[in-house]
C-alpha cells in the first residue's frame, strides 16, 4: 500500500516537474503570439499555461492509476505473469517520493506564507489607519501612492499625496484602473501563478509570471480607457510616473523591464483584437490531447527505469 501511494506521489511530482520544464521551454514559442492578442484574453491564457504543469500531472496520474481510464491510454503489456492495466509501482519510490514531497511542500508553503499573510496583515493595518471613502481607502500621507491590496476582498488605497498631485481626470483614471484590478481579482490571480510556479527549479516560469502581471496591468488600463480614453489613461500613467520619480537607487526588479513604458505604448498602439473563441478552444483541446497522448510513452519510459 505504501509502495503504491509513494509511486503515485512520486509519479505526480515528477510529472509536475517534467510538465513544468516543457511549459517553460514551450513558453518561448508561445510568448510572441501572446503579446499580440488582447491582454484580457492573454491574462486568462497565461494563468492557464502556468496552471498546466500541476493540473496536467494530477490528471495524468489519475488516468495512469485508474484502471478504467488507463485501458484507453496505456497500451496493454505484461510484466512476467502480470498482464493487468496498471500504473508504475515500486517500493524504491518511497524515499524519493518523501524527499520530493518535502521539497514541494516547502517551496509552495514558503511562497504562500511570504505572500498571503503579509498582504492580509498590511491590508488590515492600512484599513484601520486610513479613512474609508466607500470607493477607496484614503491614506493621509504626502507620499504619492495608489494601489490595490488584498486577495479575496481587495481594497483600493490612494494617498492624500496622490489625490492632491493629480487632476480629477487623472484620479478618475487611477480609480477605474484599480477598480478593474479589484473586479478581476488580479492579486489573487498572481498569487496562484506564483504558487503554481514556486516548486519549479531555476525560476523557469518567471518570464510567464512577469508577463501575466504586465497583461493584468494592460487589461486594467484598457478597462479604464473604455470609459475615458486611451490617451487619457496614457497621460495619467505618465503623470503618476513623474510624480513617483525619486532619487532612490534603481530597484532590484530588473527582470520586470520597463512595464510602464510598455503599457503606455500599448495604449497608444492600435487596439489588439481578441483571439476567436474557436481558436482558444482548439488551443486548449490540442494541449489536452498532447498531454493524454504522452501518457502511454511516459508509462513505458518509467517502466524501463531499473
Amino acid at each position: 500500500m505504501l509502495a503504491l501511494f509513494s509511486s503515485i506521489v512520486l509519479c505526480a511530482l515528477l510529472l509536475w516537474l517534467l510538465f513544468g520544464a516543457i511549459a517553460a521551454l514551450g513558453y518561448r514559442f508561445v510568448r510572441p503570439r501572446l503579446k499580440t492578442i488582447d491582454p484580457v484574453q492573454a491574462s486568462h491564457l497565461l494563468l492557464g499555461w502556468l496552471a498546466l504543469p500541476p493540473f496536467a500531472s494530477l490528471l495524468s496520474c489519475y488516468v495512469l492509476y485508474s484502471p478504467d481510464l488507463a485501458q484507453w491510454l496505456v497500451a496493454g503489456h505484461c510484466h512476467f505473469d502480470n498482464c493487468r492495466v496498471h500504473g508504475p509501482q515500486s517500493a524504491l519510490a518511497i524515499i524519493p517520493a518523501g524527499l520530493l514531497t518535502v521539497w514541494m511542500l516547502y517551496s509552495v508553503g514558503r511562497c504562500f506564507l511570504q505572500l498571503w499573510l503579509p498582504a492580509r496583515r498590511l491590508a488590515k493595518q492600512l484599513c484601520l489607519v486610513g479613512n474609508d471613502t466607500g470607493e477607496f481607502v484614503r491614506l493621509d500621507s504626502v507620499a504619492p501612492v495608489a494601489f490595490t491590496l488584498g486577495w479575496l476582498k481587495p481594497r483600493i488605497f490612494i494617498s492624500a499625496g496622490m489625490l492632491s498631485a493629480c487632476s480629477t481626470q487623472e484620479i478618475d483614471c487611477i480609480v477605474r484602473h484599480e477598480r478593474a484590478h479589484r473586479g478581476r481579482y488580479d492579486n489573487f490571480r498572481l498569487l496562484l501563478a506564483s504558487l503554481f510556479s514556486a516548486p519549479l527549479p531555476w525560476r523557469q516560469m518567471l518570464p510567464a509570471v512577469v508577463d501575466l502581471k504586465l497583461c493584468c496591468e494592460k487589461a486594467c488600463d484598457l478597462s479604464a480607457a473604455a470609459e475615458l480614453s486611451r490617451t487619457a489613461v496614457a497621460a495619467a500613467l505618465i503623470r503618476v510616473a513623474k510624480i513617483q520619480q525619486s532619487p532612490s537607487p534603481p530597484a532590484s526588479l530588473a527582470f520586470v523591464g520597463n512595464q510602464t513604458e510598455q503599457r503606455i505604448l500599448a495604449l497608444l498602439d492600435q487596439p489588439q483584437a481578441p483571439m476567436a473563441n474557436e481558436l482558444v478552444f482548439a488551443t486548449i483541446s490540442v494541449t489536452l490531447l498532447v498531454i493524454l497522448a504522452m501518457i502511454n510513452p511516459l508509462h513505458q519510459a518509467v517502466e524501463l527505469l531499473p
Binding site: A119, L149, A234, A241, A251, L253, T260
Partner: protein, 128 residues
Amino acid sequence: MPQLGELELALLESLWRTPQQSAQHLQQALPRIRQSSLSTVQSTLERLHRKTLVQRHKQGHAYVYCARLGRAELLGKLLGGVIRQLHTGSLDPILSSFVEFADKIDEQTLERLDQLVQQRRLARLEDE
C-alpha cells in the same frame, strides 16, 4: 515598524477612541467579532507595550493603558515601511500599483512618451 496582529490593532483602535483604559475595560469594549478572554487581552497589551506602541501606569492594582502613537503617526510609520518596500519592489507580488515604484523610467523617456500622447490627442482632434 513592528508587525501588528488583528487584536493588537483592535486594542489600539479602542485606545485611540478612549485613552486611559484598563485591560478589563478594553476587553469589554472589543467588537463582538474580536471578543477575547481577559488574559489574552492582557498578554496582547503586554506585547504592545514591548513594541513601545502603548504606555501604562499602575492605578490601584491594575495597569491603565494609553496609546503612545496617534493614528496619524502610526499611519506615517506604516506607510514609510510600505513606500520603502515599494521602492525595492519587494511588495510587487502582493499588491497592484497604478505605476510601479520599482519601475524606473528616465526623464527623457517620459518626455518622449508625453510628446507621443500629445501627438495622438492632436491627431484625434484633427480627425474630429
